[in-house]
Amino acid sequence: MMDHAITLLLLTLAAGTPLVFAALGELVTEKSGVLNLGVEGMMLVGAVVAFIVATTSQSPWLGVAAGMAGGAALSLVFAIVTLSLHANQVASGLALSLFGIGLSAFIGLDYVSVIIEPIRPLTVHGLPDIPVVGVLLFGHNPLVYLSLALFAAIQWFLSRTRAGLVLRAVGESPQSAHAIGISVVRIRYLAVLFGGACAGLGGAYLSLVYSPSWAEGMTSGRGWIALALVVFANWKPWRVLAGAYLFGGVTLAQFQAQGMGVELPSQYLAMLPYIATIVVLAIISRNAAVIKQNAPASLGRPFHPEG
């Protein structure tokens, strides 16, 4: 039973990680007042670019970096269109997703059948052999630790640094930020690029670690789930983390239940992760005033410096 619980915990962290990357990146983007619905497309481009670079260079870590660059490159298109050309963010974001899905399929065409050596979990000598705690603390994939570090960094950045305050100010009231001399457009560019890189990283995790291969549409909607997580987590990083693990954990728990022959129709079980995540996150953030406080006030609105 103990073994079961540990396996479930390990798998849960692994399952939640792509969502953690993508949703944290999107959170930062949205905190700057920009709504980028292109997460699914950016994840896919990140996944395919990471896979191609990792196979051709034989270096998975170069692949991870390339995946981030790929996601960021696609988000740059979005940034130019919405921030410099003032196009509608919702429409552009949706278009970006569709474009990313098609583009990743196209550039990945010759890599569908390629087999890759995945990034292995860290094996610090002896450490994972410590009973129970060993494997829970030290048995994860390096990218899982990276996602936790990213969480800590974003939490610290948003709440403890001046730059984080500036980012939030831009998301709340770009006019005021502009009036005191902050370059709203520049900050938003950086936030969008960061979100793109994180989505790309989430994609790279899928194609290099989670199911090491490239296949068209392999994210299977995880980008959209990440988007929803940000809203339901009420733009708080720790809730994003909790939501991502909850989603991953319930998915796995319902698989466990099926394998054990629990007599519940699998269709209901398949709905569970979605329902559980929404219900739990809705309950912990049910205070309307708090939601209003956390939601970036100018989310989705274009900014024209001239007023």
Partner: protein, 366 residues
């Protein structure tokens, strides 16, 4: 051969609209190659359902040389998009059109009414009309053989099955696998996890991992990606692939694979259209017809097991053995087939129970 995707085929809409203004397409002119269209539900990729259909298309092209030209449109969603794509093919002079997924059934029937001189062949459906034939394969025969291999190779006596949706086609595969498994290991069990997706590598590998954590040491799957095989390889357990040979993804894990082969059938149908002898038909072929084959065994499968499977394969081909011959009980103990009775096609195609040896309760597909 031309290659079109769903997205670029938008460009041909105008052409299509023009063609629609004309009466339904005329018979092909003598001496011109027969134009044949294929509609695929997913990208062709490197393994899986669509890949096997495309392999069949290529085999047919090779067999009939210059007498046919083919065009395929991949990644066509089931539903209204499919109707447009099929209509597009019919309107551009494709006189034989294969629609290769269950969800193309209604669109195929609808378009067929508008193009009475075009022949349609729809895979895995049940609706026919005078110019729509249907074809399918008895995948379950291969599943039974896979079950024998799994039963002989498993040490824990637990097999894991990653499945997509609880429709009869998938259920009969699970049941045939369990029957094969139990024919050599009467105490063995099959654990099933439904992932509610045909293609989601992430979920498929989660399900495979879960099954392994519940002591399954041989896996199989009825989903479209190679994730189950890759997970088995990484976790050092065995697996039986489905649709295509996936030994490349699991050189140590893959015991064998239940593979689909459509080439002979496609060649035969195209030939009959060329000869003007095509007739609407309902074909359900199996091992006997070469539609279902086992991939070469992994060398870790002992010779006696290989021989045993070969023998069962020959008996199925000869019609002497059926995976579903009574006495057969479902997993609640209810008798489903009396001793000596063999299941009928009608009973097979509405199979909505698990046989003995499958763990759990079948989620109703209705």
């Amino acid at each position: 051969m031309t290659r079109l995707s769903r997205r670029t085929s938008l460009a041909t809409l105008t052409a299509c609209a023009l063609a629609l203004a004309l009466p339904a397409s005329a018979q092909p002119k003598a001496g011109e190659p027969l134009k044949i269209g294929f509609v695929y539900v997913s990208p062709i990729g490197d393994a899986g359902w669509t890949f096997q259909h495309d392999t069949g298309r290529k085999q047919m092209e090779a067999a009939l040389g210059g007498r046919v030209t083919t065009k395929f449109i991949e990644n066509v969603p089931e539903g209204t998009d499919a109707e447009r794509v099929i209509r597009d093919l019919a309107a551009t002079g494709h006189h034989l059109i294969f629609t290769t997924s269950f969800g193309y059934m209604n669109p195929t029937i609808k378009v067929a009414q508008a193009f009475p001189n075009t022949k349609f062949e729809h895979a895995t459906g049940y609706k026919t009309s005078k110019n729509v034939g249907i074809y399918n394969a008895r995948f379950y025969e291969g599943r039974y053989l896979a079950g024998i291999v799994a039963g002989k190779m498993s040490k824990t006596g637990i097999a894991g099955y990653v499945a997509a949706f609880p429709i009869p086609e998938v259920v009969m595969g699970i049941n045939a696998f369990a029957r094969g498994l139990r024919s050599v290991n009467p105490k063995a069990e099959v654990k099933v996890i439904w992932v509610s997706a045909w293609f989601d590598p992430g979920k498929e590998s989660e399900a495979a991992n879960t099954l392994i954590s519940q002591n399954a040491d041989v896996l199989t799957h009825h989903t479209d990606s190679t994730a189950t095989m890759q997970t088995a390889e990484a976790k050092k357990v065995y697996a039986v692939a489905y649709h295509s040979d996936m030994s490349k993804y699991g050189p140590n894990a893959q015991l064998t694979a239940v593979t689909h082969h459509w080439g002979d059938y496609y060649t035969r149908v195209a030939q009959s259209v060329l000869d003007g002898k095509w007739q609407q038909d309902n074909v359900w072929g199996g091992i006997k017809d070469g539609m279902i084959k086992l991939a070469p065994f992994n060398k870790i499968v002992p010779a006696d097991v290989q021989a045993m499977v070969k023998k069962a394969e020959a008996e199925i081909a000869a019609g002497k053995l059926s995976p579903f011959t009574g006495p057969m009980k479902d997993n609640t103990g209810k008798e489903r087939l009396a001793a000596g009775k063999t299941i009928t096609d009608a009973e097979l195609s509405r199979m909505d129970y698990y046989v003995q040896g499958v763990v759990g309760k079948l989620p109703s597909s209705k």
